[in-house]
Each structure stands twice: as C-alpha cells, then as structure tokens.
C-alpha cells in the first residue's frame, strides 16, 4: 500500500505491507535506527516518536496509519536547541547509562514541554511512567526533565 509521510522534515513515499509497524518502517526502510524497539507491544516506550507533534508509540501504529502525517524521530533533534538542553541535563545529571531508552525519553519529554496547556512539572514522575529504564532507577531522569521543564 502506498504510504506518504514526512520524516524529520523530509517527504518520503513508498509501497509498504499493511502489517509493517511504523517503528519497523523507520528502522528497516528508512534506516533511522535511533528509534529503539524493546517490547513491541506498547509497554516500554523505547520506540516513542512524535506524530504531528504528539508523542506516540511507533510499535502501536501501522505504517499505513501514518499516511499523510509528519513524524519526528530522535535523528530529527540534532538541530533542536530544546533537545540539546535536555541531552545536556540528562548527561550532567547521569540520567542515562546504556542509553537504550533515551530516545524514547527525549521524545516523550519534548512532547510534554510543548504540550498545550503546559504540564505541571510536579506530574513528571507520573507522565514519564510510560517509558521504562532498567539502568538509572528513574530518579536522575525525573530530576533532569523536571529541571529542564523549569
């Protein structure tokens, strides 16, 4: 099925099988392997990307459902000053070790920062509960994101 979308500002068009998830399209067809796959059933949050500005699980969306949408993956954050400040905060606060979960946390946190109405920083622990990290114990990530949200 023909699928047309915009990924990190660049239009893409291709013929994809309907069973292909958006995560697999990004990783295997567009070679954007910064989107990580942990559980592939919507639990771990590692595959979080932005779809028309909203954080979504790319393993729970078929590529054909993303037709006509604009997507941002971790590769699209290189020139984003907000994302740079968040990366610095995570590094300075030891908010990552192995880094597997980090792309998902970055995109979830960016969606929270741009949410309208703005999110209350006190809700950060609850709102980040949809992303699993097996290294840090969450405290450093929550502290870094909370400080960055201001």
């Amino acid at each position: 099925m023909i699928c047309r979308l915009t990924v990190n500002g660049t239009p893409w068009e291709g013929d994809v099988p309907p069973r292909l998830t958006l995560a697999d399209l990004l990783r295997d067809h567009l070679q954007l392997t910064g989107t990580h796959l942990g559980c592939e059933q919507g639990v771990c949050g590692a595959c979080t990307v932005l779809c028309d500005g909203e954080a979504v699980r790319s393993c729970l969306m078929l590529a054909v459902q993303a037709d006509g949408r604009s997507l941002t993956t971790v590769e699209g954050l290189d020139a984003d000053p907000d994302a740079a400040a968040l990366r610095d905060a995570l590094v300075a606060g030891r908010g990552l070790q192995c880094g597997f979960c980090t792309p998902g946390f970055l995109l979830s946190a960016l969606a929270l920062r741009r949410a309208d109405p703005p999110v209350d920083p006190a809700r950060v622990p609850e709102l980040l509960a949809g992303n699993i990290c097996r290294c840090t114990g969450y405290g450093p990530i929550v502290a870094a994101v909370r400080a960055w949200l201001g």
């Binding site: 309907p18 998830t21 949050g45 954080a55 979504v56 393993c59 969306m61 078929l62 509960a129 949809g130």
Partner: protein
C-alpha cells in the same frame, strides 16, 4: 513479534466502512487508534484477514461537549478530549488513568468501548453515566443500546461483525463524583477501580466486566453513608477474578475500600 500478513482497506466515509464490514463479516476487524488491537496483532492473538482502517472516516471524528447531552464520536482520541476546556471534571479525572499519555495520543473512545477490556475506563464510565451507544450496519441501519446491554464480557460486546460503534452519548455529568483506581504503576491497567456519580456505583477491573453495585446503591438511597457497613455490602457484592496480577480476595477487599472512597468523594 510482528503482525501476520493482513490486507488493509481505508474507507473514506461511514457508508464505505459499513459496506466493507457487510462484505467481509468476521474476516475483517475495524482498526481505530490501534492501542489495543495492534498489540494483539503483534502477539498474533488476533489474525484478521483484513483490517478496515477508520482514520479517514470524517463522520466518526469529533465530540460535542458543550450542551447538557454529550456526544463523543467513536474515533475521538483521548488526547483531544483532554485538551477540551468543556470536558466535564469526571471524564477528565477518569482520562488521567487511561494508559500513558503516549497511548492517549492515539487511543480512541470508540476503540476502547468496542474492545471491552474489563480493566478499561471507558466501559466503566459508560455504565456509570448510563451512556447510550449508537451502532450502525449497512443492512440493518442504526440501533441504540444502553451501556449495560452493549457490554457483555471480556473482549465481548453486542456488536455484530458487520456493525461499527458510531458514537456514545450521555447526560453531562455534573456535581460531585468519585473515581479511583489501584494500579501497580501510574498508567497501567487497574487491578481494581471504582466510580460513583448521582447515586450510581460501578466497580471495574475486578471481574469479567464493569459491574454496578445495586445493593450499595440501595443502601445509599436509604440514607446509608460511607463506613464499615457500606464496605461490607460492597465486599459481598463485587464479582472478582483471580489472575497473575491479583487474587479475587484482594480485588474484593481493595474494591470495597475504593467504593467507600468514591462514595465519600461523591457525597
């Protein structure tokens, strides 16, 4: 795991979608936001021949939240409702428990109702608020069902294979209410949950489907108040099941406490 091969249709209108379902019957599954069905496809617990993607069906989108009677069309996403200034506080409180915010970006009201997970919030809300569900088919036209007749059991509703859930309507919930859940982690499915509004009391995630507690409601009508007697009645009335997350005894015990809390919050 990856979903099995499947065909995809993308109807552009409600009539087209209903025609697809009338043609395909139980070989097809409608796909709304996919937050429940896509994991089932990935785990190969669901293997339809055809998915009927509803993302282009304009008649199924949007919600009217301004009047005394609310209408939420089936493809309305939870994130859209959360952003609406007209959203009644009871629905706002319950929505905060629906998955994680990334799930609510894609998850739809109709998808949750039609999927009927016993632990999901929307079927419980529909029962609590005495909602009416409008379902449509190409052959038989529309029928309107009260939530209590729509909800049959785990992953089971009154929807026939050729029918689509079109919209849910309900009187605007106003005044005091209670809504509470016990979950292992914020955003996880409830181990047990409860709601109370205008004298109606519902427990969910305990048994095979959300359950009204008529005995507790009668106790409240007769002037009963939160406390040990109300908890005893709730405990006796709650239908609970064992699974790997919690025992039936735990669910009854915690559910009775939650009922006490939500009744207190609503009174």
């Amino acid at each position: 795991m990856k979903p099995a091969p499947v065909a995809y249709r993308r109807p552009e209108s409600l009539d087209e979608a209903l025609a697809d379902l009338a043609e395909l019957g139980d070989r097809a599954r409608p796909l709304a936001g996919g937050q429940s069905l896509v994991p089932l496809l990935a785990l190969r617990l669901a293997q339809p021949e055809v998915l009927v993607g509803l993302e282009r069906v304009a008649e199924l989108r949007g919600a009217d939240l301004d009047g005394d009677r609310l209408e939420i069309r089936a493809m309305t996403r939870e994130a859209e409702l959360e952003r609406s200034a007209a959203l009644p506080p009871l629905l706002g409180a319950a929505l905060g428990h629906v998955g994680h915010f990334q799930i609510r970006s894609r998850g739809t009201v109709g998808g949750s109702l039609a999927h009927m997970d016993p632990a999901a919030e929307w079927p419980a809300l529909a029962l609590l608020l005495d909602a009416t569900l409008t379902v449509a088919s190409a052959r038989r036209g529309r029928r309107r069902l009260p939530a209590a007749s729509f909800i049959l059991g785990p992953l089971t509703t009154a929807l026939e294979p050729d029918e689509l859930l079109e919209a849910v309507t309900m009187a605007r919930p106003d005044g005091r209410f209670g809504f509470a859940e016990v979950e292992r982690r914020s955003g996880d499915f409830a181990l047990v949950g409860a709601g109370c509004h205008r004298g109606r009391v519902v427990v969910f995630a305990a048994g095979p489907r959300p359950q009204r507690l008529p005995g507790v409601e009668a106790f409240l009508r007769d002037g009963g108040a939160p406390g040990p007697e109300l908890q005893r009645r709730a405990h006796a009335e709650i239908e609970a099941r064992d699974d790997l997350h919690a025992s039936a005894a735990y669910r009854r015990q915690v559910g009775a406490r939650l009922v006490d809390q939500v009744v207190a919050a609503a009174s």
